[in-house]
Symmetry: C2
Subunit: 220 residues, 2 copies
């Protein structure tokens, strides 16, 4: 069975390749896993020997079919566990990522299936992140962000792509969670400021970096 470290490496390669076929650089991978670059290189060579990913020296890595299968299963565990923690145990959505980071390696496939059924086969987790189904199919729809969408239109938040506790607490306090509706008032590319108007009329100011982490779709 894959160790905790192996599962984490594979999952992060999957997340960093964002569905596409691009190579993931060693620097990005090492950064995501919080290890020094040499460590990532060593591990990647071992995983390549195991046939779980393909390593193009000095360019980067890409998952093989086998590696991707494992990574999707871990990601499914992660996101279903997050959903369970919020829906069933009523935990705060800002804290469940850290918990799931551990539990994703301890939950068996059998428990996974039962959690999935208990929760009614959810398609998104509490952050709006898509949950791969049992077959490994994952919704990879591309959405606009608050940094790129048209201004003035009515929007609905579909996803918040940032796991840090501080950011999620801020988003929660500002009413910026999946399902919330709002519109972008103006966007000043020089100052890097985005102004939002909530349904209740409240206004919120956000930097473009933060705005880019909030995915939206036209309300309809």
């Amino acid at each position: 069975m894959a160790t905790v470290a192996v599962e984490n490496y594979l999952k992060h390669v999957l997340l960093l390749s964002e569905g596409g076929e691009e190579l993931v650089s060693m620097g990005d991978l090492a950064g995501a896993l919080a290890v020094v670059p040499g460590t990532a290189t060593a591990m990647v060579k071992a995983l390549a020997d195991e046939g779980l990913l393909e390593h193009q020296p000095r360019l980067g890595v890409r998952l093989t079919t086998r590696g991707r299968r494992i990574a999707l299963n871990v990601l499914r565990k992660h996101r279903l566990v997050e959903t369970f923690l919020v829906e069933t145990l009523k935990m705060d959505w800002s804290k469940v990522h850290a918990e799931a980071e551990q539990l994703e390696h301890a939950v068996s496939d059998e428990v996974l299936d039962r959690l999935d059924a208990l929760l009614g086969h959810p398609r998104q987790d509490p952050h709006g992140d898509p949950i791969p189904n049992r077959a490994g199919k994952i919704d990879s729809q591309v959405y606009a962000t608050l940094a790129t969408c048209a201004t003035g239109r009515r929007l609905r938040i579909v996803r918040v792509t940032e796991q840090s506790e501080e950011f999620l607490r801020f988003a929660e306090d500002s009413g910026l969670r999946p399902g919330a509706e709002l519109s972008v008032g103006e966007r000043n590319l020089v100052s890097g400021l985005v102004t939002l108007t909530r349904t209740d009329g409240g206004k919120i100011a956000l930097g473009v970096a933060a705005a880019g982490k909030i995915l939206v779709e036209p309300r309809g």
Copy 2:
């Protein structure tokens, strides 16, 4: 934080000392952890250096207060997780031990508290094993077993002290689960055979070793 291995060693020392103050032998400890004796010796020395247990060379080990505190917390996680798996996820009681063996190391204290509340602060797990409370207090009542109790009296099963999947499936199939009522017909110490009579009149034959794993109290 204590590693998975450390948590397992401490928990097994606790289980093998059965509440009392007796020393746990290296052989028993190594056997319970499925490691060779030399490995247990090495680990025990490290844990003694950490102040988590007391090692009397060639005699055995005993938990310190700190070690016992950690062990009880792990045991509480194990048994609450088992209860959750059976009560909420409807898993078979014969399979939950193996699952809990992993999850006991991945569940945080916060998740533990919420599980406890969700389940209504249970005092026993699905096998009748007592669940330590948050303060670390654990019910250590001593019960008779089907191998030692008086014959002819009406009894109620309170606990099944064996975790193996095969044994628990057998017990399940024979109606021998906590709460079930029965009496011991006769016990032949020569042949080592114990004959039970269920409430429904059904008779079951059992070896003394197996009978000793089923704890009972007089029905009342």
